[in-house]
Symmetry: C2
Subunit: 232 residues, 2 copies
């Protein structure tokens, strides 16, 4: 791609993103809630979704009290946003997406689900028949543009209003170049983050599973680890 067309493409993406509402399925969980905070701080109206709207309203109230544009709604209403983030627990992930497939059609869907199990030895990746949660989402949402990203951001850092910059790169994988570029640009809007293209959706599994390693890192070093890609 020439530099000129790259700039034109970037301008088009910025226009698509400007003012876009971000819906978050699972917006009361730590990851979804933290991402909602950051997207709102970047200027997006955010719809935090939950199975129980009252719980979402309570969670949204804390962020709205800080002056952020965040509303709490049922997941069905969060699915009506311009761009939708899937941050639900892995259990029930696929059936939730099938339920909302019509509302999610034609949209960029960001799946950041990490299918992990935990036992006395720590975290480990669960076997996912589709290969990854992201591929499962793509199969459940054939008319959407599913992109996998935001797996490794520390929920603790996201949630902390004192943390202005979240120092981590966001590895973005997907098969639709425009959707991938939009999600990478969205990551770029969060101070400290960079969105980095890291392959096709078939390479989502190891990003999801790598969260198990980062949990080990966090335990060993008492850290809130993130990743930076060097030489990019």
């Amino acid at each position: 791609m020439s530099s000129a067309s790259g700039e034109a493409e970037r301008r088009e993406i910025d226009e698509r993103l400007a003012g876009a509402t971000i819906g978050i399925l699972g917006g009361t969980g730590a990851q979804g809630n933290g991402l909602g905070r950051r997207f709102a701080a970047a200027g997006h109206p955010v719809l935090l979704g939950s199975r129980v709207a009252a719980r979402a309203q309570e969670a949204a109230g804390h962020l709205a009290a800080e002056g952020l544009s965040v509303s709490g709604v049922a997941n069905a209403d969060a699915a009506a946003a311009d761009v939708v983030v899937v941050a639900v627990p892995y259990e029930g992930h696929e059936s939730l997406l099938r339920t909302h497939a019509a509302a999610l059609a034609g949209k960029v869907i960001i799946d950041c689900v990490n299918p992990l199990g935990f036992d006395r030895q720590g975290a480990y990746p669960l076997a996912v028949p589709a290969g990854s949660a992201a591929q499962e989402a793509a199969a459940a949402l054939p008319d959407s543009h599913v992109v996998a990203a935001f797996h490794h951001v520390s929920a603790v850092l996201l949630a902390d209003p004192e943390v202005i910059e979240v120092p981590t790169d966001v590895l973005v994988v997907g098969d639709d170049p425009q959707a991938v570029a939009l999600v990478a640009a969205l990551a770029d809007q969060i101070p400290g983050m960079r969105g980095i293209y890291a392959g096709r959706l078939r390479n989502a599994h190891q990003l999801e599973a790598l969260t198990a390693n980062l949990i080990s890192v966090n335990r060993r070093y008492s850290a809130h680890a993130g990743l930076r890609v060097t030489d990019v």
Copy 2:
């Protein structure tokens, strides 16, 4: 672990590593050769191994001409080193290890094999019945201490004598804490690198597979990407 016992442990590891010879199975490949260069530059006598000793001797000659302590030998002789790195192609990995299991018994074995396939869409992880190449190695070498590490170091940077620092963290996984600590300390000896504990051997697969993503990063950004762990 208290700070004092941490220091004592570190001293013991440094003593074990001081002057340790490093053998490299597959020392004529890009990754094995590049690691051999760096371990030799860090002061270790290195035995580059190959199925064909003459090829290893030729590869070692280039490094020895730079004043590095590197010899080329048959894989069987490289397996006699104090610490042995496995950097062979995935095909034949397991049978090679079974062949040399007796020589490798009781030792720290560093597996850095990435089981990847390539097609028109780029790289993707191969399905490995044992879960990962590292777990396959552990099954083939029940009397060795298998640690997985050095998957993501850029072979291009390793090979370049003008590159003094290789800016990447080395994620180290394994089930034997002393072996893990020794491999992390070995990574620390290479300028620019840090060895970071990243979980048990059952979490090796995603480190191996992540190399497919880094290949996509390298293609997209014309980079020699590595990884840094933030907040550690």
